[in-house]
Symmetry: C2
Subunit: 335 residues, 2 copies
C-alpha cells in the first residue's frame, strides 16, 4: 500500500468487488432505484416480533445471499467486517454468530460502509487473506426509536430531517477471484465538528466532514472532480448536499455536473422523506445496487464514494454536546 | 501476512509496540497493579460536570500522553484505531476530533483492545503507514448507568457481577521505530453465544468465546500453553476464568501455571468488586502497564493476550435475547 499525501492510500494488489448485494424495505423499493435492488421486503419485521429482530433477519438474509451470489461458501470468506446503527452493533453481532465467520465490528455511524471497505481491502492487501465480506445496514423503526422518539409518539418531523433507510448492503471483496470493479484508493477521514447540536439536522452536521475528506483526497492525489465520472456522498440529503456543494465551491471545486447524494436519490419527492434518506444502510444499498451496476455496465469508469457519518449519541447530546462527524472515501475503478 | 490454519495470521513485517500508556481511576490505582500505571486520577470526573465528559477527558489525556511518550508528534501518527463502551463510541469520537488524526472507530465491547491491535498491525503490515495508535477505555460510572441501573438507584450487586474498570490504555505501534516488544501473530474471533441472558453474569457468557479463540490459536499454530510464558484473558473475572480454565481443560490444555485474567488481577479482594474488573479499559490498562513492563524487563518472552467482549445490548436483552460474545487474541513477543 502506498501513502499519498496525508490521508490517502493506494492499494497495490488487485482487489475486486466480486459481488454487491442490496436488500431494502418497501419504501426504498418504491423509490427511483427499485429496479437495482436484489430484494425488496414487504414486511419490515421480516415475520419477527420486534423491529430489532427484523433488522437482524435482514442482515442475515442479505449477507448470506451476497456470499452465495459470489459463488463462495461461508468457509471461504476469511473475514467479516461491518457494523450497524444499533447500540453495540447488535444486528451485526448476531449475524456474525449465525455465519460463523471471524468478525471485526466497526462503528462510524453512516460512514461504516466505506470504513468496512477500507479495512477489508487493507486486510486483502497484506496477501494473507483471499475473501472478505463488508456489510452495513440500518432500519427506520429501530433507529428512530433508539436515536429520537418512540414510534408511537408520532412526532412531527422537522423540515430539515431525513428518513433512515431500511436496508442492508453487502460487498464481497476478493484478491483471488477477479471482477471488473476494483478498489484502488481510499481516504481515512478525520472527525470534524461544526457545532450542530440538533439531532434532526444531520445533513448540515455532516457536510463539512464530507468536504474535508473529499478536499483531502483531491489534494493527496492531485486530481479534481473532472477526473471522476461520479462523486457520491452517503447520506447528506438535499439540504446537506447543497451545503456540501457550496463548501466544495469555496475550495474551488464545482460539483454541479457529476455529483449525487445516495440519500437524496433513494426516495421520490412525493414519498414524504423531507431531505431524503440517511443511515448506515443508505450508501451501502446504493453502492451495492445502482453504483456497482453502472460500473459493471461500463457507464461509469470510476466513482468516488464518500459515506458520511453523524456520530451522535443521545446521552451526550442531552448534555449539550454537538455532533461530531466523519466521512471516509473509497475510489472504485473499472479495469 | 501469512494465514495459519483457519483464523490466525502471522505478521511478516517487524511491528513494534513502541509505547504503552495506562491511565486509571483511584480504585484501580489502589489495586495490586498501582506501581505499573502511568496516571492514577483521583477525580473520576476529571474536573468536568458529567462522568461522560470526564471519560472523554481521560481518553484525550491518555492518548496524547502515549503519543508524547513515544517521541512522535500527532502528525507522525498515520492512524488512530479504537473505541469505547459508550453508545456510538462518543469518548473515542471526541478524542479523534481533538487529536486531528484520521480515525477508524471499532466496537467489539471489551475485546476492542485486541481488535485495535489486530487492525493497527494489519495496516502497518501493508507498508503504507509508519505509526498507528491503538486505544480503548471504559468508565465505571458511565458504563453502569448506560448498561444497567442509574447510579443513584444504588442497587445491590449480584455475587457474580464484575466492576467496570475506569481507565484508558493506549499502545503506539510502529514499523519504523523499533522496540523490544513485537506483535507477531493474531487470531480473529468468531461470535459465540452460549445462551446467558443475565447482563451481570458476563464472565460466564464470555468464557466460551475465550476458549474458542485460544483453542483455534493452538490448533492453527500447532502449539500449546507450554509454549508461552503468560496467557492473559481480558475480563472474565474470577468466576469466568474458572469456567474458562475448565473449558480449556476439557480441550486438553492445563492453564494452572501460566494463566491470569486481567479483570481478576486488577483489584484486591477487599475492594468489593466481587468477581473483579471488566470493561474495554480492563485488558487495555493491564496490557499497557503490567504486561508490557514484564515483556520489556525480559521477565516474559512471549504473551498471549485474549481480550474478551460481551456484546450485550439493553434493548435486545429486554426482548429476551442472550449475550453474544467474542474474543480476539494477540501474540506479543520479545525480540
Amino acid at each position: 500500500m502506498i501513502k499519498l499525501g496525508k490521508q490517502t492510500y493506494q492499494l497495490e494488489k488487485d482487489i475486486s468487488v466480486v459481488t454487491g448485494l442490496s436488500l431494502v424495505g418497501q419504501k426504498e423499493g418504491d423509490g427511483p432505484l427499485k429496479r437495482y435492488f436484489d430484494f425488496v421486503e414487504k414486511d419490515d419485521k421480516m415475520g419477527e416480533k420486534t423491529f430489532e429482530k427484523g433488522e437482524r433477519h435482514m442482515f442475515v438474509k442479505a449477507i448470506s445471499s451476497a456470499i452465495k451470489k459470489s459463488g463462495f461458501s461461508n468457509e471461504q470468506i476469511d473475514l467479516y467486517v461491518g457494523g450497524d446503527l444499533m447500540n453495540q452493533l447488535v444486528s451485526s453481532n448476531y449475524t456474525a454468530e449465525e455465519l460463523e465467520i471471524p468478525f471485526l465490528g466497526l462503528y462510524n455511524a453512516c460512514a461504516t460502509m466505506t470504513e468496512s471497505l477500507i479495512i477489508g481491502s487493507t486486510f486483502l492487501e497484506t496477501g494473507g487473506l483471499n475473501n472478505v465480506i463488508c456489510a452495513t445496514g440500518s432500519h427506520f423503526s429501530t433507529a428512530e426509536r433508539q436515536y429520537r422518539y418512540p414510534l408511537e409518539f408520532g412526532n412531527q418531523r422537522q423540515s430539515y430531517a431525513q428518513w433512515t433507510v431500511t436496508g442492508v448492503g453487502a460487498s464481497v471483496l476478493s484478491s483471488v477471484k477477479k471482477s471488473k470493479v476494483k478498489i484502488r484508493k481510499f481516504t481515512v477521514g478525520k472527525v470534524t465538528d461544526f457545532g450542530i447540536c440538533d439531532i434532526a439536522n444531520m445533513g448540515a452536521a455532516m457536510a463539512p466532514a464530507a468536504m474535508e475528506t473529499l478536499n483531502a483526497f483531491f489534494k493527496d492525489t492531485n486530481t479534481t472532480q473532472k477526473d471522476y465520472d461520479l462523486i457520491a456522498t452517503g447520506d447528506l440529503g438535499k439540504l446537506g448536499s447543497d451545503i456540501f456543494k457550496d463548501l466544495m465551491q469555496e475550495k474551488g471545486y464545482d460539483l454541479e455536473t457529476n455529483y449525487i447524494d445516495c440519500g437524496h436519490m433513494i426516495y421520490n419527492i412525493d414519498q414524504d422523506t423531507l431531505q431524503g434518506g440517511s443511515g448506515a444502510g443508505c450508501s451501502a444499498v446504493v453502492l451495492n445496487s445502482y453504483i456497482l451496476n453502472k460500473l459493471n455496465t461500463g457507464e461509469f469508469k470510476n466513482v468516488l464514494l464518500i459515506s458520511t457519518g453523524a456520530l451522535m449519541s443521545t446521552t451526550v447530546n442531552q448534555q449539550g454536546d454537538s455532533i461530531p462527524c466523519i466521512a471516509h472515501l473509497v475510489l472504485l475503478e473499472v479495469e
